[in-house]
Every structure is written in structure tokens, then in C-alpha cells.
Symmetry: C2
């Protein structure tokens, strides 16, 4: 159960990345670690073709592009909202059937005696749901496992994780999350919604589906990493917005993750997508619930409206929140870190069965009868061994989807739960959630941590008679686990529909973050680190002024000439020791005159843009930007391109295709300065030159991501280097 | 009244900028336009001294720095909150006395007949208050006029406006805003709070006050533009937070304006400052109101809690909001654009008297009696000619500080105001607000536009019987005028304490922005443009790919040698045709080897860091970073430095002080690429080099800010160029 390399597969299968995956030895773990995820190019390659196109475009043309961007963002929001709506309805229906069947069965056997049959029914139903979900994920698309948030974080940061924004991933993710939530696992559907939004965005903005082999011939202008990232940000925001009913929170989430490219127009578009998404979800849900036009319940998650009397928090409670924050935090993240899950459908089914069994056992052994209220807010109140007119409150907490449980923990009047019930529930659910987190199912970690926090807070609340503390424990745990910070505050404030909570939520989140950072990194960050992904943080490590570009860069670097022999290019690309995706183009004596990407060279080779040695340059076949866009983003590997021996002797003129103005730095540039350049401009390659502008090295993301702050200062990680 | 150049004085007095202000001709308007505000350096000058210091610092040292940053942010929040509290209490007290006196007088003369005496009393009281405020602003510190938001926007963007973050400015601003609000002008105190927060930040973070000649010898590390900007962002956020009780809104405001430097730790610090600020304000206000510890009324502005029944907006109202948005928008901004105010105390007093007269006339001629409610929410209900047990509702709207008026417009039950009253009120207040905006008083435009919007919305609300529309008109007008967009949404949502409004607020704001952008720029942007400030927008104009660095750059550029003659340096700095603040340092054949700033050269000259031609390099006096920090930010002008004829023959070695790794671009780089580099890295100078790394030109902010999108595509503005 502790095989890290096997766990999540985004450094797996490199089959379609247009990049060779050299297996230096047979050991599987090494193999996984050595497959470096590709990086994305958030700096436009401003080559002649691109500039010509831009220059041809009129002012009106740019306006139209802008309008198209808005239309796409609207579409992204609409589709994301629709998907959220679909998931919500499907889960509600399926879980409804399940609980109805189990409830009937329990009622039948409570009197007859033979509740083990109910247990088996429950366990089998749960396992069946989870099995379908796990099979889909494990066998069809392993990347759809988990919440997808770390993958989206990576994408926005500039790390390309294969297949993460594919249509197939979306389908499996949606199917998987429906199955796992309906199957009663301790999971939420919010993380997957964010991933789904991102996939929708990546698909819609490209105007085609490579999986379905369908090209609508629209939005071709947007077929490059820079534009795609903007749309994926909008998609992620729309996902957050649909999941939590928090459009502003969604925008902040995208900005916190995407960083470095804040731009007012872009922010507006992201905002628009978020808005449309919440709106669509609400509109369709209102129709589903038979009250069309009533848009008062935003988001998949809804804590209901809080009565402001309850939350009259005042000055004296604040230190308490902080202490609670500190305690809960260290505790939870540590446990999550220790636990490592494995990758099998069987395990998923086992967990589903165990979840059912534990729930059942606790329902069975607890004797926590509460009078049935007049207003009957519970959908499935179980009588069990309670007297008539009473119901078992433990059963209520477990016999529900996690979201409804959170809601009942918040809103049921004081006295609904007794402390022992809550204590046992919290503990049991905690271990189940930790175990579940590592399963190969599509599932979010947000709702379970919220639920554990709510139960624990309610426990505190009983002991200290503050109902408000329910909420803060909740916030604290979630904050400690996921560390989204500012956006999380806004998400939670928007989800509760009450701004009064803002201030204490912030305090608790800050405490959680400070205490948390001291002990351990956030869950998503741990996840990212485990994959040895070249993820760039906000700043260079503070003590890294010692290092200069000279020490950091890869050197010697393979350079190409402006007019290069085809044979040499093929050899360079085929060479498994060439680790870069970009090559400086040089004039005589290695003076830099441009930068060309592996993907561009591949397209050139594929279209055989060669000139014979003797002939004039004019005979070279003309390529257009369209050819590059058609190939984007799945460029074929070099092995699939056949170049004959004659062709190897031809020449290729790179002038038109290379970026003639790549960013360069002198060798003495300090690491923080290089880092800032990378982070601010979304670079992938930075050419290091000497005084006379001669290429001496190349800095890539991986060269920078190596350096981390450890306990004793700067540490160099052994990041995946093929 | 229409003299633009005279209006706001931030391109005025260049006396202490260490830069000569050549007057090419006597025409005053030309003079103003030709005084280019200095720019700020948001890119660290990583010279040897700096790197050595950074390298000496241990990991622990960086931790301490970080802790110091947090402490400063806490202090900034605390002081900003305190100032907000002070303003609030002062205004309440002064306005209270005033209304009490006038009310007694009115009551006395209503029966006697002779209300003109009351009018005179009111007008005189108002004028007196305003006079004090206007005198302080006009004669002591003209930069304190207006809201200060455009100036802070410029500062965060990288344009240095003289005296904008001085202690004197703060004192005058606070005094001025108290006077103008207490004097009954149609102004708010929110804008000035933002400015005050920024000044506090700039002061506290530097650990000294140049005005008071007091150096606390702390926080010396932070004496540079980069660090200062971060703190000023935090201060502005704390100001927003105190003004509106909206900490998240404050953070967003800073990010929207400061842009390009989003960093998670910084965001947290800004957030912390905001939080402390709201908290401090609330804490002290709660003590003032005699209920210590009750923190439920955040912010200077407080719309009170809305009943959720009233705001059950639904689908069908949305198109209405949009139409209202479009109408109100075009209307208001246009009028504000046409009007131009002048700069005299007399005018301010006149406006104050006219405001009182208009109000009085409307109170007098209206006959809008309403029964006095049991709960008596109005503090000064005027009976006037109404029957006993009734009060004059027009008087209520005018006989109050603008904030209270907004509140009563929101919360009074339907039927409180009749449509004619509201119509007349809206119109009158609108013209007064427009007139007031140009006065030389410290005043914000936020509350008046909110008030006009609220009154207008209430009017609509009566006609269409939607009370909610009050709110949306309000939002729309404010949005249309100030265009802060995302942060505005969050500010308004936080200020109302109700998230349900979020969605319609967004829709209205977006409409306001789109319609507004079509007609005219936002008020603050107009303001900035009028000052011909080199303000960089988010992106380069879309059709600017035609332009390359070669066309944009200033050339030829004055270069210095690595070891340069003192006489030459003095000549270069004294030469009035040298327009730059940075000089490339070159080796033989003009190969770039560094960049040195005017301010650094001034410090070197002042400390006479010379070597005699014959002597060895070792005799050069050692300068430390401390010397540069002590001189920051008010570097003396070159004229004040005496260099003898002998000294002119000495040499200066710039190696240690220049930035050895300035950013460079080739000549073919397109304008959008250059622009992105400037915006993302906060650059001030960008060296343009040829293939062999030889300096061919220099791009500055002013070179980029020239290009704007006009009606027919790209336009080149004739920005101030000395």
C-alpha cells in the first residue's frame, strides 16, 4: 500500500508526448521518477509567421478575437454548470435509491432480527457503485483518480501532465465521482468539479476534439499554450464557482494558482465564466426542483443560511479559535502524510464495504435516540431500536451523503447529538477519509475534511456551548489540509452566504497556515512534490543569492545553425541524451539569434520543409501558422517521422520559424533574478549568454525547481533528470 | 473653472525630486505638461553591494526579515484603523454639533417666521468648516486634494508623484476630510482613507520620518522602491478595509492596482494588514460607542444588515438591472468628464454655502410630510411645517451626513419617500457632487455616487416596486464611475454583509464596465491621463506588433564607462537634455556591462568616491548599502553637489555600484514583448542591444506609455517629454 511511484499515474505513460522515454534500467520506480513531465510554453514564440499574422490583423480583428474569447468563456461556464448539475442530480438519484432500499430493509429486519442481511445489502450496494467507478478509473484513465486539483495546479504553473485535459479524462472523472459519492465513500465532489471545468475549457477553447477526431475549424487562433492556459484558468474558476457557489472565490483560486499573469481583461473573463457557471447550475437545478427561476441556492455545496444570532461571535472567542486551529492542523496533516494508499479496484471495493460496515456497526451499537422533530429535516431518519417518535442520531450522521451530513451538523438545534456519538463519528470518519484519499477513485478531499471539522467543532461546541465553533473547526481543518488560503476564505464566506464570518475565518485560516507550514506542506503540495514535478513556487529560496545562472544552467547546450542540415536536426531530436525541448539558434561563433522548439522542428520535419543544398532558398515549401496549430498539442514523436537518406543531406532554414527575440541573461545573473523572470513571464527556456552574446547555457524549469529550502538552508533536490 | 493644468498639483513643484525641471517656454500649461513625474524602480538593482549583503545573510536572517515584514504590516493595519476611527469620531461629533445647532434654530424660527436666519446660520457653519479644510489643502499641501486614489494607483503602477506619501500630506488629508464631510459637502471619506493607509505604510516601513528629521534606525533593509511598494499595497488595502469593512476587497484592490507582482506571502501580509485594520477600527469604535468587544459593525461605511426577504431577486429582474446599468453609466461619466473645477478656497466655500442653500430651499419648498415612526430611526427628524407627529422626509435626506442618507434610503420602509422628492434630490445632489468633485478639498467620490445611485434606485424601486433596485442602481453608478470592478464587487458584498447580492452586483458591474468603456474611461483613469503620467496599462495596444524596440527606444543613449571621469558624470547629470534616470555602463566598443541609476551616481558624487587618475584603485573610499539607504528616497539634485575642478579630473569606478545584469532585449523585439517585460517585472529602464551586445538604445516607461488605442487604431500620444 505504500508504493508512491505507482500511485497516481501522471508521470506514467509517455506514449503520446512526442518525447522519448528512455528506460535507463528495468526498475519500475526509477523509470517513473525518470519520466519528467513536459513543460508548457507560456511565453509566445514570436516568430516571423506569428508577427506577420498579428500585423495583418486590423483593429477590428483584435476586437473580434476578444469577443470570441468572451463567447468561449461563456460556453465554458455554461458547460461546467451543466456538468455540475448533472453530477448533482445523478448522485442525488442514485444515493436516494440506495438509502431507500437499505432503509426499507433495515426497517424490515429491525423487528424480525437479522440485521446482518441489511448490512450485507448495504455493503454490496456500496461496493458495486464503487467498483464501477474504480474500474473506469483504474483501467480506462488512471489520471482521473483523486481530486485533480494538484494536476490543475501544475498545469497552471506550466507543467504539462499527459492526458490531464482530455475528453476521456472528463468522462471518466464525471462517471467516477458519481459512483464514489453514490457508493458512500468519504469523499466530496468539489475537487473533481474543478478538474472538469478545466477540461471543458481546454476542449472548448481549441474548437476541436482530438479524441473524437472532430475539428470545428473555429478558434484556431487559440491553439497555443498561452491562450489555452487563460481558458483553463477560467474553466477551473467556473468549476470552483459551480462547486461552491462562489464566483469570486473561483476567480481568486485561479489567480492564486495561475499567478504571474494577472491582467484585468483576463480577470473579467474568468469572472464571467464563473458567473455563468453558477447561474447555469442554479437555473437547471431550480427547474429540476420544480421551482424555475428561483436562484437562491447557489453551488453544489450549500450550508444553508445561518441565523445571525447564533454567530454573534465576539472578541473573547478569538484566542479559542486560534488554539483550536493550531491543534487540529498539526494533527490532521501529519496523519494524511503517513498514510499511503494503493491502486486497486479491490481496495476501493473493500473500503466501500468497510465504510458501510463501520457505519452500520456504529449505528447498531450506539443507542443515541433523539425525538423526531415536527419539521422532519432529515430525509432518512432511522428509527432502529429507538422508541416510536424517536430516531437514531448516529444513523442520521452516517446515513447520508457527506454534504447533507455537514449541513445537519451545522443546522440541527443544540442537543441533537450527544458528545460520545460525535466523538466516535469524528474518529471513524477521519480514518475512513484518510484511507479513502489514496484510492483510485475520482474524489475530492474538501467535503470529508469539512465534515470531520464540523463534527469535531460540534463536539467542542457542546463542551463549550458555542455553536459557532462548529464552523471554525471546519474551516480550520480544511484550511490546514488544502492551504488555498485567500481563495478558500472567499469560497467559504460565499458558501455560507454570510460575511460576518469573514473575519474569524481569516484568523483561523491564517493560524492553520502558519502552524501547518511549520510542520508540513499542504496536501496538494505534498502530492506535487511526490511526483517530482518541476513546479515553480512563488519565489526563489531566500538564501539562493549565492547561485548564479552559470551554476544553475545546463551546459553545454545543443545549438542549431540558422540554416541547418536535416540529418543533424533528426540526430539531435532522436538523441536520448538531449534533454531539452528548445534549442538556441546561433550564427557563426555561437552568437544567439533565436530559439526554436522541439515541437516546431517536428512539424517542419513532418512537412519536409527542406531545401536542397544547391538550390535557391525560394524553393523551400511555405509553411503557415495553421500547420503548427493543426499539430498542436499532440506533436508526433521523432521516431514516427521518416526521413530518407537523401533528405538527410538537405538543409532547413529556421529563420522564419524560430523566435528571433528569446529572453537572455548574462552568466552572472543571480538565481532569484532568473527565477523572477521565469515566474513572471511563464518561461520554459532561458538562454544564458556571455559578454559577446554567445550561447553558453540554457536554464529550464527543472534547473530552477531543484532548489528548495530545507531545515539547514538551501537544498538541492535530485529531481527527475533523464 | 476649466484649467486642467492647474487643477491637481501632482505634476507641480518639482523642487525636491533631484531632477531639473527645464522650462522651455513661459507658457504655464506647457510647463506643467513638460514636468514628467519620476518613475519608481520595482526591479532590484542587484549590484555587488546588494549581493554581498544578501550572501552574508543566513537563513535565520531571512526569517527575521520576514517576521519584521509581518510586524510592519500589523503596525500599518493598526495605525490605519486608528486614523479611520479618529476621522469617524471627529466627523460624527462635528456634524452632530452642527445639526443640533441648526435644528434648534430652525425649530425656533419655524414658528416665528424668519427661516432665512436659519439658512444663513447653516450656510455659514458649512462654509466655515470647508474653509479650514480648503485653506489647509490649498496653501499647505495641494497634493492632499481629492480622494488620492489616482495617486495611489500611479504609485503602485510605478509612477512617482512628489510628496504623495509624506507625513504632511497625511495630516492635511485627515484634517481636510474631516472638515469637508463635517461641512456638509457632497463627499465621502473612503478615498482619503485609502490614501491615508498608503502614507502610513510608506512611513512606518521606512522606520524614519524625513519631515520630522527622526531616524529610528530600524527597518533599514526596506529602504528601496521594491519593498516600499509592497508595504504601500498593504497600506492601501488596510485603508479600503477600514473604509468599507472589507478586508478581502482591500486585498483585491491592491492586487488589481499593483498587479504584476502577485506573490502568495505578500498577499498574506496584505491580508493581515487589512484584517488588523478592520479589527482595530471596530475595537475602538466599540469602546467609543460604549459596547467594548462587540465587533459586529465593520467599516466606516455600514449599510446595515439586509433582510433577505427584501432581496429575493429572481431571474426576471436581471435584464432590468442591465438596462439600468447601461443608462445610468453613460449619463454620469459623461457629465463628470465635461465638468472641470478650479482651485480656490472661495469656490469651496461657495459650494458649501450653495449646498446648504439648495438643501434648505428643497426642504423649505417641499411638503413631503411622513408620519414619525415609533422607532424613530432618524437622528434629526425635522418637523418644519408638518403636522405634529410627522416629519419632513426631504429634510431627512439632506439633513444628514451622506453615509447616513444612504443608509436611510436603503432601510426605510416603502412609502417613506415620495417620487418627486427623490427625483429632485437625485438631480440636485448629482450636480452638487459633480461640482464638488473638482474642489481643492480632501474628499472621496465613492459615497456621493453611491448616494445618487441609491436615491435614483429608490425612485425606480417605487415606480417598479422592487426595493432591491435601490441597491443595484447604486452599485451600477459607483461601478461606472470608478471601475474598480472585481475588488468593488467584493467590497460591496462585504459592506452589505450579504452574499446573495453577489451575483446581481457582478452583472451590473460588468454591464457598467462594458458600456462605460465604450463611451469613456473610468474617472480615475481620466484623472491619470490628464496629468500625462506615464501610466502603463495591462497590455500593449493590440495592433502594436508593427512596432519594435528599435522604433520605440530613445537613441542615442548616454553611456558611461566602467571607470569614468568625474567631470563627465557631473556634466551628464547636469545636462538638461539628458532625460533618463538610468545610464548603461559599457566596456570598450559599447558592450553593455551594467546599468547605473542617477540616484546612485548622486550618492557616489556626494560621498566623493573618487580615485585619482594615477593612484591605485584601492584608495577609493568604501561605500556601503547603508549610504544609499540613508539618502533614499529624497536624493539631492545635482546642482547642490559641489565638485571642484581638481575632483573633476578624478575617476570613479562604477563596478561595485552598477547593476551588472540589467535586462536587455534585441532591437527586433516587438512592442508587446517589451511591454510585457516592463509590466511583469516592474522595470524602469530596458537596455536595447544589437547582435554583439552593444548598447543601441534605452526604453523607458514614457516610451511605452505613449501608445494608446484610439478610434482608428494605434495612436501616439504626445506625452510629456522634456
Amino acid at each position: 500500500m505504500a508504493n508512491i511511484a505507482k500511485k497516481v499515474s501522471w508521470s506514467g505513460r509517455g506514449d503520446d508526448r512526442g518525447e522519448r522515454t528512455p528506460l535507463l534500467n528495468g526498475d519500475e520506480e526509477v523509470k517513473y521518477n525518470r519520466q519528467v513531465p513536459d513543460t508548457l510554453d507560456y511565453d509566445n514564440s514570436e516568430n516571423q509567421l506569428f508577427l506577420e499574422e498579428e500585423r495583418r490583423m486590423s483593429h477590428m480583428g483584435f476586437r473580434c478575437l476578444e469577443i470570441r474569447r468572451w463567447v468561449i468563456c461563456g460556453l465554458i461556464g455554461f458547460l461546467t454548470g451543466l456538468i455540475a448539475c448533472m453530477i448533482d442530480i445523478a448522485v442525488e438519484k442514485l444515493a436516494g435509491y440506495k438509502y431507500f432500499a437499505v432503509k426499507l430493509n433495515i426497517e424490515k429486519y429491525t423487528e424480525l432480527g437479522g440485521l446482518s442481511i441489511s448490512l450485507i445489502l448495504w455493503a454490496v450496494l456500496n461496493s458495486a457503485f464503487v467498483m464501477f467507478g474504480a474500474i473506469a478509473v483504474a483501467f480506462v484513465e488512471p489520471i482521473a483518480a483523486g481530486s485533480g486539483i494538484p494536476q490543475i495546479k501544475c498545469f497552471l504553473n506550466g507543467v504539462k501532465i499527459p492526458r490531464v485535459v482530455r475528453l476521456k479524462t472528463l468522462v471518466i472523472k464525471v462517471f467516477g465521482v458519481i459512483c464514489s459519492v453514490a457508493g458512500g465513500l468519504a469523499v466530496g465532489k468539489e475537487g473533481p468539479m474543478i478538474h472538469s471545468g478545466a477540461v471543458v475549457a481546454a476542449g472548448v477553447s481549441q474548437g476541436r476534439s482530438t479524441s473524437l477526431k472532430k475539428d470545428f475549424k473555429i478558434f484556431e487562433y487559440f491553439r497555443r499554450d498561452t491562450e489555452k492556459r487563460d481558458f483553463v484558468s477560467a474553466g477551473a474558476a467556473a468549476g470552483v464557482s459551480a462547486a461552491f457557489g462562489a464566483p469570486v472565490g473561483g476567480v481568486l483560486f485561479s489567480l492564486e494558482e495561475g499567478a504571474s499573469f494577472w491582467n484585468q481583461m483576463l480577470t473579467w473573463r474568468i469572472f464571467f465564466a464563473s458567473m455563468v457557471s453558477t447561474f447555469t447550475l442554479n437555473f437547471f437545478l431550480s427547474i429540476y426542483h420544480g421551482k424555475p427561476g428561483e436562484l437562491s441556492s447557489p453551488g453544489l455545496i450549500n450550508f444553508g443560511r445561518f441565523d445571525s444570532d447564533i454567530v454573534q461571535y465576539n472578541l473573547y472567542e478569538i484566542p479559542l479559535f486560534i488554539i483550536m486551529g493550531a491543534l487540529g492542523e498539526g494533527n490532521v496533516t501529519l496523519s494524511l502524510y503517513i498514510h499511503r494508499p494503493c491502486l486497486q479496484v479491490m481496495e476501493a471495493m473493500l473500503v466501500a464495504a468497510v465504510t458501510a460496515t463501520v457505519s452500520f456497526a456504529m449505528i447498531y451499537f450506539s443507542n443515541d435516540c433523539q425525538p423526531l422533530g415536527q419539521d422532519n429535516t432529515e430525509e432518512y431518519p432511522l428509527q432502529l431500536f429507538c422508541a416510536d417518535g424517536e430516531y437514531n442520531s448516529m444513523a442520521t450522521a452516517f446515513f447520508n451523503t457527506p454534504e447533507r451530513s455537514v449541513r445537519s451538523l451545522f443546522h440541527n438545534p443544540p442537543g441533537t447529538y450527544n458528545p460520545v456519538t460525535l466523538g466516535v463519528f469524528t474518529l471513524a470518519y477521519f480514518f475512513l477519509a484518510v484511507w479513502t484519499y489514496g484510492l483510485t477513485v475520482s474524489a475530492g478531499v474538501f467535503i470529508p475534511s469539512l465534515l470531520i471539522g464540523a463534527a469535531w467543532g460540534r463536539l467542542f461546541g457542546i463542551l463549550l456551548s458555542f455553536i459557532a465553533s462548529t464552523w471554525f473547526c471546519c474551516v480550520n481543518l480544511t484550511g490546514g489540509i488544502v492551504r488555498m488560503t485567500l481563495s478558500l476564505t472567499v469560497i467559504l464566506v460565499e458558501a455560507t452566504g454570510n460575511v460576518t464570518y469573514g473575519f474569524p475565518i481569516m484568523l483561523v485560516l491564517m493560524t492553520a497556515k502558519i502552524v501547518g507550514d511549520y510542520f508540513i506542506e499542504g496536501l496538494y503540495d505534498i502530492h506535487i512534490k511526490l511526483q517530482s514535478v518541476p513546479f515553480l513556487h512563488w519565489d526563489a529560496p531566500p538564501t539562493s543569492h549565492w547561485l548564479t545562472a552559470r551554476e544553475v544552467m545546463s551546459s553545454p547546450v545543443t545549438c542549431l545553425n540558422r540554416v541547418e542540415k536535416v540529418g543533424r536536426i533528426v540526430d539531435v531530436l532522436s538523441n536520448t541524451s538531449t534533454i531539452h525541448n528548445g534549442f538556441p539558434v546561433v550564427a557563426h561563433t555561437r552568437i544567439i539569434c533565436g530559439l526554436i522548439l522541439r515541437s516546431q522542428l517536428i512539424v517542419l520535419l513532418k512537412h519536409k520543409v527542406f531545401v536542397e543544398r544547391a538550390s535557391s532558398r525560394l524553393s523551400q515549401r511555405k509553411l503557415q501558422l495553421k500547420d503548427f496549430r493543426d499539430a498542436y498539442p499532440r506533436f508526433p514523436p521523432i521516431q514516427s517521422i521518416h526521413v530518407s537518406q537523401d533528405e538527410r543531406e538537405c538543409m532547413m532554414d529556421l529563420t522564419e520559424f524560430m523566435n528571433p527575440t528569446p529572453y537572455t541573461v548574462p552568466q552572472e545573473t543571480s538565481l532569484p533574478r532568473v527565477f523572477k523572470l521565469f515566474r513572471a513571464l511563464g518561461l520554459r527556456h532561458l538562454v544564458v549568454v556571455d559578454n559577446e552574446n554567445r550561447v553558453v547555457g540554457l536554464v529550464t524549469r527543472k534547473d530552477l525547481a531543484r532548489y528548495h529550502v530545507g531545515k539547514d538552508g538551501l537544498e538541492e533536490l535530485h529531481l527527475a533528470q533523464t
